[in-house]
């Protein structure tokens, strides 16, 4: 093909997407970087000036209630628990759905439902379900299980647990669909050969299924981790902005509060950068590690 023509084609195909991204994503990113070195807040919204690393120092040392390290650990717990259950439940259901069973498409359709519902509706609905007196979760606990009702939204641990339960419910269908796609691409001959060799289901799972869905699951898990780590909606709406008394925050909701409720723009920008760097390092290491072990198969 004519080289000139090819370059024009490449340019016209990629330029619109990247123009939008530069305007809405990359330019604000640079802007954010600048703000993170400034003293911008409600009092200095136009007459801000650069003050070096002070905001970053504040992020790591300021004795906020709750402190940075506490929230960081909580964010890791939040991300790990969520993604763990998303993947385990998702792959488990995909394995069940990948057999010849009656009503397969009906099951699949109904199981996608949590993914189809807008997140803010999910969050507000679950918040209602966690209500102490009228929420259906406590009603089920007291009526059918004869256990004492739980103060879901008033205690820090229970409120955090409530957020996790909501997010686990919301996230497993994505992993299920990704795993299902991966399972369908495994050729039947492999299982037939394994059957001839008299392999048990566990051996087939361990030696055929899991290694073969792995290349698809790794990027999905990376995305899942990044999305969960940055999931503002669920924490913010289920716990109503970090209630009780800011004890349910993960890093993103904490930044959101610093920026839009407390107007500490410089501080929020610095903390945002810290979150970004954490995720960047995680993704690079995780992708590299998983690719390194991929060669073993």
């Amino acid at each position: 093909m004519n080289r000139f023509y090819k370059n024009i084609l490449i340019f016209t195909f990629t330029a619109p997407a990247f123009l939008i991204l530069i305007g809405v994503v990359f330019y604000p990113f640079i802007y954010n970087l600048v703000i993170s070195f400034s003293n911008m807040n409600l009092r200095h919204i136009t007459d801000w000036k650069l003050i070096g690393f002070q905001q970053y120092i504040k992020v790591f040392t300021e004795p906020t209630q709750p402190g940075f390290y506490g929230i960081f650990i909580k964010t890791i717990i939040w991300t790990f628990v969520n993604v763990f259950f998303h993947v385990v439940i998702g792959v488990f259901l995909a394995l069940l759905l990948n057999q010849k069973i009656a009503g397969k498409s009906v099951y699949r359709t109904l199981l996608i439902l949590p993914w189809a519902i807008p997140q803010y509706i999910v969050a507000l609905t679950w918040r209602g379900m966690f209500n102490y007196e009228y929420g259906s979760i406590n009603l089920i606990i007291t009526k059918y299980l004869n256990l004492p009702a739980i103060e879901w939204l008033k205690n820090p641990t229970e409120a955090f647990l409530a957020c996790i339960l909501t997010n686990v419910w919301l996230g497993f269908p994505f992993m299920m669909i990704v795993a299902l796609g991966a399972l369908q691409s495994i050729p039947d001959e492999l299982y037939e050969a394994a059957n001839i060799d008299g392999a048990s289901w566990y051996q087939k799972l361990k030696n055929i299924t899991l290694p073969l869905i792995r290349p698809v699951m790794i990027p999905a898990i990376t995305l899942g981790v990044v999305w969960t780590f940055n999931n503002l909606n669920i924490i913010w709406l289920v716990s109503n902005g970090g209630e009780p008394s800011d004890s349910t925050h993960i890093l993103v909701s904490f930044v959101y509060k610093a920026a839009f409720n407390l107007y500490r723009y410089g501080y929020a920008a610095a903390l945002s950068m810290v979150i970004f760097v954490i995720l960047l390092f995680f993704s690079l290491i995780f992708m590299k590690k998983s690719r390194a072990t991929e060669a073993a198969y």
Partner: protein, 278 residues
């Protein structure tokens, strides 16, 4: 004996799937229940799905007493624009990334991935200040561009991954038959990439239809509100208007659920996350 064992396993499979279906569906039934409750029984300790004296009053008042139709129209307009933009730009950019080698390809693809790691709050503040400066606060243009950019990275990756699975020999054949590269793209490749286009469209639509936090900052004029902002306003005061909220949620869910159900067949084949190699 072996048959019996198989039968038992099948029954257990069905039971397990049913349990998960109940878990997946229950919160939705909960919203339906709330929307049907008569207004004097909104706080009820009953667990029935169809409540006593079920009524459609909340739905009626949603359309007659609340600006719900306005929100619906606003949301539909914004979502439609974002979906079209998403499909158009992602299908083109993904194609270039899949088929050609060019300077900056790897960096371009990586930068798409990196955007997913930006916390929403990081872009929100600069974006907000920027939109004020450009006079795009309280405009749909501002929010449509923002949503498109949010959805694009994932969409471009999905499209690129899917194009990678379509053999280039098909386009070469089309070229021999006299198509130029662009014709080969939209006559041969695009129809084959339908599953990925469905995902791209769905993802773009969902981004716009279900987004609350960005909308809350950009659309402050209540005549411009999209559905999420309207729904949240039922909850904002001390006493949540649960009946209205439930009814509105159901109406918001219906189009999304229908689209998801219609496309669930495509969903499985269209998400080709595996091909991340640059």
């Amino acid at each position: 004996m072996n048959n019996l064992k198989k039968k038992i396993i099948r029954i257990i499979t069905h039971i397990v799937l049913l349990i998960f279906v109940i878990i997946a569906v229950y919160p939705v039934l909960q919203v339906i229940t709330i929307s049907l409750r008569p207004s004097d029984k909104l706080l009820s300790t009953s667990l029935e799905i169809i409540p006593e004296n079920a009524t459609l009053k909340s739905y009626v008042s949603l359309f007659t007493e609340q600006p719900f139709l306005l929100w619906l129209r606003n949301s539909a307009f914004v979502s439609f624009c974002v979906t079209i933009t998403g499909i158009l730009l992602a299908s083109m950019a993904g194609y270039a990334f899949s088929r050609f080698n060019f300077i900056g390809k790897k960096i371009g693809l990586l930068s798409l991935l990196v955007t997913q790691m930006f916390p929403a709050t990081m872009l929100l503040l600069p974006l907000y200040l920027m939109l004020i400066y450009l006079g795009l606060i309280n405009t749909y243009l501002g929010i449509i561009i923002t949503y498109s950019a949010t959805a694009l990275p994932f969409c471009v990756w999905t499209m690129k991954g899917y194009y990678d699975t379509i053999p280039t020999s098909l386009e070469e054949a089309a070229r021999i038959d006299g198509c130029n590269q662009f014709q080969a793209f939209y006559r041969v490749v695009i129809p084959l990439a339908a599953p990925a286009l469905v995902i791209t469209g769905l993802f773009s639509f969902m981004t716009a239809w279900a987004e609350y936090i960005v909308a809350a900052q950009i659309l402050q004029d209540s005549s411009l509100w999209t559905l999420p902002l309207g729904l949240k306003s039922f909850e904002a005061n001390m006493s949540t208007e649960w009946g209205l909220y439930g009814a509105a949620s159901i109406i918001v869910m219906i189009p999304v659920v229908i689209i998801f159900l219609l496309s669930s067949r495509w969903l499985v084949s269209g998400l080709t996350l595996g091909s991340v190699k640059g």
